[in-house]
Symmetry: C2
Subunit: 342 residues, 2 copies
DNA sequence: GTGAAAGCGCTAACAA
DNA sequence: TTGTTAGCGCTTTCAC
């Protein structure tokens, strides 16, 4: 009968070198206890023997995982893809592993992922919540468990949590003011669900801009929904079919604006002549649009690193760390829509 | 001094209920040993006490993780994003967790991720390799370790590994034949690195089509590089600057074609009039391009589920399972490029 | 600088 | 149907 080949353990290495597994363990982790020469020897032998550490054992024993969980609502979206890339890079530099999960805008899946991450005993969680997240209780539970959690971009409404967001009210305000300055009086909004910051705050900025400029807010010009392309399409069609189209639409996200482009094309309306658009957020697709959208810049490069830095602070200082809300200012980028009418 | 609050374990639940932790463990995992009534009671208590299983402990003890590692080269790419989504869904249905990692087209990172996954003791690995992967040895090591691994789309050249790919040679052949039928004689190729199947096979299909139709292959019309937009841009510019532009370009991926669009626009050449394009692979961006690209369809919907199914077969049947190569046929989708000249 | 002892939380095999 | 025993592979004191 063939000898069952099993994984190589610290003990195996120790046996070969006539030391104990403790020494090997320390050497492999560069513990200062071990002399350079033995450390080098141990490492070489481990390598030669094809040793692969067992994280489950390590985590169990050390009671930490050097792993951070990241949850995003969608992945085929250049905004989140970029953020994820930058978080991966940060993690790499700080010797953390990332567990990435995608909620697919589904609150149930989001919850499942959160629970999995807790069970994995991640050292911290970074999350951008899904469209209609109903997991506030889970977040509270996580907090009470002492697991650090940082929200980015899409947050929940609760001051007890840390977050990194952009200044949504300000950004929306800027966009709508620009529309006003361009001569528009009839300004509609395709907005996001109001239970979530980006939906709420961008709508707030919209309202504020109209109010300050004494422009009537026509409720018939406002529709709330999700943040995807389909949502934009549907919203536009609804406005169109009810003949409620304003002169310009301020859309809550880039994908929503994209849906508007599709819908407008389908019904034969020209942008910006028949219906103009300005949006929150950008995408690499924008280069190919005609006309190229003017938009509120999301400062994508800053969000990932700042979020990661924040979670690290939390992890390192433990319970003592007070929640911190970071807000990043936005810029308006003008392209070929929402241009001043002569 | 406050009592240090630690995590709730099986033992805690057992104590409260006057049973042993084994019973609790079994009950929580729906082991048939346990009677319905006690199982229900145990579950309720566990829930009430806020019990969270410790996967590290479970994995260590059970010697399996119910976790599958997935590595992709890029994430901001609708092809991979779609595949990832479908793999997540399959995993969800089969009660597996996914560990997702992005190599960012970097062989070093790819290797690091592979090692991390081995250390995590994932039950299997699904991977689409990076542009210039130099990890063949690592793959062999993984194989010798008995960890199931399945490649998809981008594979390495080795019959001992399972893979799910599309029929690249056939797809490229179809595209180039179409170009020929459309009246083109001067057909160039912006290809991918030849060390990787998609680069090699798509080039092979290109060559085969020319050969069969007795059309001269002008080496000056062929450039090899990466699979991203920048690569397409650079390749086009190189052809252009050397005045080596053919009448039509067959590009190895959609992003490469996109780079060609950018470059052509920059130098003032019109597609398809001045230079025509047909490509391998699609993207949701295509809708916005003018002209809309004709392309070889990647059958994106099939790849994820088939890959997942294959890794499951491997995991379930262990060593006994022979490597299996699945190849999916392609279709040509004609839009506004590479149209028959009258 | 190195080692002995103890245990992290859980599950698998076998007994009762 | 439930419990006993024996680890999984590693790290952390603390002693030498």
């Amino acid at each position: 009968m063939s000898k069952k080949k099993t994984q190589i353990t610290l003990q195996d290495i120790a046996d070969k070198l006539n030391v104990t597994k403790v020494t090997v363990s320390k050497a492999l982790r560069n513990h200062p206890d071990i002399s350079d020469s033995t450390a080098k020897l141990i490492k070489k032998t481990a390598d030669k023997m094809g040793y692969i550490p067992n994280f489950a054992a390590r985590n169990l024993s050390a009671k930490k995982t050097s792993t951070i969980g990241v949850i995003v609502p969608v992945i085929a979206n250049s905004f989140f893809a970029q953020i994820i890339d930058s978080i991966y890079n940060c993690a790499f530099d700080s010797d953390y592993d990332i567990i990435l999960a995608v909620s697919q805008e589904d609150s149930e899946k989001e919850k499942k992922h959160l629970e999995t991450m807790l069970a994995m005993r991640v050292d911290g969680i970074i999350i951008s919540v899904c469209e209609k997240s109903e997991n506030h209780n889970t977040f509270l539970k996580i907090k009470s468990l002492g697991v650090p959690i940082v929200f980015f971009d899409r947050t929940i409404e609760d001051d007890n949590f840390s977050s990194v967001t952009i200044n949504n009210v300000q950004g929306a305000y800027k966009a709508v003011v620009k529309a006003i300055e361009s001569g528009y009086k009839s300004i509609g909004h395709i907005g996001g669900w109001q239970n979530i910051n980006i939906g709420r705050d961008r709508y707030a900025g919209y309202k504020e801009a109209l109010r300050k400029h004494k422009i009537h807010l026509n409720k018939k010009h406002v529709i709330f929904g999700g943040f995807g392309e389909d949502d934009g399409y549907k919203a536009f069609m609804e406005l169109y079919s009810k003949q409620n189209l304003p002169d310009i639409l301020f859309t809550v996200t880039f994908p929503v604006a994209l849906g508007v482009y599709n819908a407008a094309k389908e019904v034969g309306l020209k942008i910006p002549k028949d219906i103009d658009v300005i949006t929150f957020g950008q995408s690499s697709i924008n280069r190919f649009l005609k006309p190229k959208l003017s938009y509120v810049d999301l400062q994508t490069n800053d969000i990932g690193p700042k979020t990661f830095e924040l979670i690290l602070e939390h992890i390192r200082s433990g319970k003592k760390f007070a929640p911190k809300k970071i807000e990043i200012d936005t810029d308006l980028v003008m392209n070929e829509t929402c241009i001043k009418k002569i």
